[in-house]
C-alpha cells in the first residue's frame, strides 16, 4: 500500500479541523503509515459479491405520534456552553469582514 506522506497527514488534519504541530506531523506520519499498512489487510479478502454490513441491527425508520413533549431546558443547555448570548450559542465570526 502507498506510504502516507507528511503532507497527506497535514491535509487530513486540516479536513478534521486539527491544528496539529510540526512535531505531531512527524510522529503521526510514521504511525499512520504503520496503522494503514496493517489495516489494509482487509483487501486480501475476496469479497466482491459480499454485501457490506453497516449495522448489525436492521435499521428502519422509527415513527411516533407527533405530540409535543418537554425538552431539556434551554437555560440549562446554554449554562454549560462555552459562550451564550441572548438565549443562543455565541460563536466566533463565521464570515470574513474584509470579504
Amino acid at each position: 500500500m502507498p506510504a502516507i506522506s507528511r503532507e497527506e497527514v497535514a491535509h487530513l488534519a486540516r479536513l478534521a479541523r486539527l491544528a496539529v504541530t510540526d512535531e505531531e506531523l512527524d510522529m503521526f506520519a510514521g504511525q499512520l503509515d504503520v496503522i494503514l499498512g496493517a489495516v489494509a489487510r482487509v483487501g486480501e479478502v475476496a469479497a466482491d459479491d459480499i454485501p457490506p454490513t453497516s449495522h448489525v441491527v436492521p435499521l428502519t425508520n422509527v415513527l411516533r405520534e407527533d405530540e409535543p413533549q418537554p425538552s431539556i431546558d434551554r437555560e440549562a443547555v446554554l449554562a454549560v456552553a462555552p459562550a451564550a448570548e441572548d438565549g443562543r450559542f455565541r460563536v466566533p465570526r463565521i464570515l470574513d469582514e474584509d470579504a
Partner: protein, 497 residues
C-alpha cells in the same frame, strides 16, 4: 464492619439492606472510606460524589422504613464509567475537551439505575472517548491494576474494572466497542459482559463508534453482573437502535449455571483465537477451563472461523471511521472547551485550535485514520471493504452456531501488561483486543469470566453466544465460576504498601 461490607457481593449487600441488617448509608460510607484509603494508588475515579451517594442511600433507607418493597439491587453502590452522562455531575469521557462539563440530563441507563435504588459513588477513569486498551489514554492520568499497581487494569473501562477489583464498589458500568468491558474484566479477575448490540440503550452514552458501542455490567460474581444487566437492559424509545424485545433472563441463567450442570450443551473452541501472539500461560488456563466445561457435561469441539483473522483490520477501519464522524460534534460551539476565541480568529480557526488542544494523541490518530478511510478514492478499498469483512465475520459466527450453543476463547491474548509498555506502539495496543473484536463486529453478546491465573495474574475466559442469547453467556460463566469454588478475586493481593 466496614472491611466486611466492602467484600460482600452485590446480591448479599442488597439482601442485608432489605433485611434491615445494615443500612444503605452504612454501605455507602464503607465504600467511600475504601475509596479514600486506596484510590490515591489505584486511581479508579475521576469524580467521587459522596453527597449524591449518601443522599441516594438515605432515600433507599427511607423507602425501606416506610415499608416499600426494594428492588434486587437497592442500596448497592456502583461506579459509573465517565462516558455515561449524569445530570449535575461532571462528565468528561476522559477528555480535556469536556473538562468541567456538567450534563443537563441523565443517560437512560443512569435513570434506570437511580430508579432501581442503585447508589452511584462517582465517575470512573477511562481511555479518552473509550479509545484504548489500558486507560493510559485518559487525559487525567492512568489507572493501576489492583493485582499489580505497575500494570494496567485494561481499557477502555479500566477505572470501572479497577474499582470493582479493588473493592471500591461491588458493581460498575463499562462500555464495550471492541472489547472495552471484556478485556479489562479479564485482566483484573472480575466478570464483565457486553450485551447483544441494541439490548441496552445508548441514549446518553457519549458516542465513539455508534454501530458497535454497548454498555454493560461489571461484578465480582456472575450473579452480580446478571442482576445489574437486568436493571440496565430493555427497550428505549430514545435510541433508534434499541431492540424492542424482552430482556434476556440472565439472572435465572446465572442461578441455573451455578448448579454446575452443562449436560446437552455444545461448546465451540475457536481455532483462530489462539496461537501466535497468545501467551502460553493464558492458553494453558483456557485449556484447563475447557476441561472443566467437559467435566460439567458439555461437549467441547473445535470450530474454525477463518475470517476472524481479519477482525482487527476491519475494526480499526470501521471504529475510527465512525469516530471521525461522531467526534465532529466537538466543535467548540455547544459544550466543552473553546480555545483561541480572541475576536480575530474565525470560527474554523477556533474549532481547529480547540480540537488540537482538547484531544489527546490516540483520539487524533483515530480521527485522521477515519478521515482517510472515508475519503473519496480510498473509501472502497478501506471502509467499504471492512464492512464486507464484517459480513463475513457474521457468517462465520452463524455457521459455528449451527453446531455450537456457545463459542469460547481466551478473553485476552496476554495477562495485564505493564504501564507504559505499549503507549508508543499503537498496533501493539490494538492487539490487546484480538479476542474480543469478532463478537463486537457481529453485535453478539459475550462475557469474560475469571478462569484461573497465569504467573499470578488473572486470565479471563470469553463466552460468545448468538444475538439475544445473553443468558447462555451467563449460564456457562456461572458454571465456570462454580467449578472454581470461589470468585478468583478472593486470591487478589490485599492493597497495602
Amino acid at each position: 464492619m466496614s472491611a466486611e461490607l466492602i467484600r460482600l457481593t452485590a446480591a448479599d449487600t442488597a439482601a442485608k439492606i432489605a433485611a434491615g441488617e445494615v443500612t444503605a448509608v452504612e454501605v455507602a460510607h464503607a465504600h467511600l472510606d475504601r475509596i479514600a484509603a486506596v484510590d490515591e494508588r489505584v486511581h479508579s475515579f475521576l469524580q467521587v460524589d459522596a453527597d449524591g451517594a449518601l443522599a441516594a442511600a438515605e432515600a433507599v433507607d427511607t423507602a425501606r422504613a416506610s415499608g416499600e418493597k426494594l428492588g434486587p439491587l437497592a442500596g448497592v453502590p456502583l461506579a459509573l464509567k465517565d462516558v455515561v452522562v449524569t445530570k449535575g455531575l461532571e462528565t468528561t469521557s476522559g477528555s480535556k475537551i469536556l473538562k468541567g462539563w456538567i450534563p443537563p440530563y441523565d443517560a437512560t441507563i443512569t435513570t434506570k439505575m437511580r430508579d432501581a435504588g442503585i447508589v452511584i459513588l462517582g465517575k470512573t477513569n477511562m481511555d479518552e472517548f473509550a479509545m484504548g486498551s489500558s486507560t493510559e489514554n485518559s487525559a487525567y492520568g492512568a489507572t493501576h491494576n489492583p493485582w499489580d499497581l505497575d500494570r494496567t487494569p485494561g481499557g477502555s473501562s479500566g477505572g470501572s474494572s479497577a474499582a470493582v477489583a479493588a473493592f471500591e464498589a461491588p458493581l460498575s458500568i463499562g462500555t464495550d466497542t471492541g472489547g472495552s468491558i471484556r478485556q479489562p474484566a479479564a485482566v483484573t479477575g472480575i466478570v464483565g459482559h457486553k450485551p447483544t448490540y441494541g439490548a441496552v440503550s445508548r441514549r446518553g452514552l457519549i458516542a465513539f463508534s455508534s454501530s458497535l458501542d454497548q454498555a454493560g455490567p461489571f461484578g465480582r460474581t456472575v450473579l452480580d453482573a446478571a442482576l445489574l444487566h437486568e436493571v440496565i437492559a430493555g427497550h428505549d424509545p430514545g435510541d433508534s437502535t434499541s431492540l424492542n424485545v424482552p430482556v434476556s433472563q440472565v439472572v435465572a441463567a446465572a442461578r441455573e449455571g451455578a448448579q454446575g450442570d452443562l449436560g446437552g450443551l455444545t461448546v465451540g473452541v475457536v481455532r483462530e483465537l489462539g496461537g501466535e501472539g497468545y501467551e502460553p500461560g493464558v492458553e494453558a488456563a483456557a485449556r484447563e477451563t475447557y476441561a472443566r466445561l467437559e467435566q460439567m457435561g458439555a461437549k467441547v469441539v473445535e470450530v474454525s472461523c477463518p475470517n476472524f483473522t481479519y477482525a482487527l483490520a476491519a475494526y480499526y477501519l470501521i471504529a475510527p471511521s465512525e469516530c471521525s464522524s461522531n467526534l465532529a460534534r466537538f466543535d467548540s460551539v455547544r459544550y466543552g472547551l473553546r480555545v483561541g476565541d480572541d475576536g480575530v480568529n474565525s470560527l474554523e480557526d477556533v474549532m481547529s485550535l480547540t480540537r488540537e488542544a482538547g484531544f489527546g494523541a490516540e483520539v487524533k490518530r483515530r480521527i485522521m485514520i477515519g478521515t482517510y478511510a472515508l475519503s473519496s478514492g480510498y473509501y472502497d478499498a478501506y471502509y467499504g471493504q471492512a464492512q464486507k469483512v464484517r459480513t463475513l465475520i457474521s457468517r462465520d459466527f452463524a455457521a459455528a452456531f449451527e453446531t455450537c450453543d456457545v463459542l469460547v476463547s481466551p478473553a485476552t491474548p496476554t495477562v495485564a501488561f505493564r504501564l507504559g509498555e505499549r503507549v508508543d506502539d499503537p498496533m501493539a495496543m490494538y492487539a490487546a483486543d484480538l479476542c474480543t473484536l469478532p463478537a463486537s463486529l457481529a453485535g453478539l453478546p459475550a462475557i469474560s469470566v475469571p478462569a484461573g491465573l497465569s504467573e499470578g495474574l488473572p486470565v479471563g475466559l470469553q463466552i460468545m453466544a448468538p444475538a439475544l442469547a445473553d443468558d447462555r453467556c451467563y449460564r456457562v460463566a456461572a458454571a465456570v465460576e462454580a467449578s472454581f469454588g470461589h470468585p478468583l478475586i478472593d486470591d487478589a493481593p490485599e492493597l497495602h504498601r
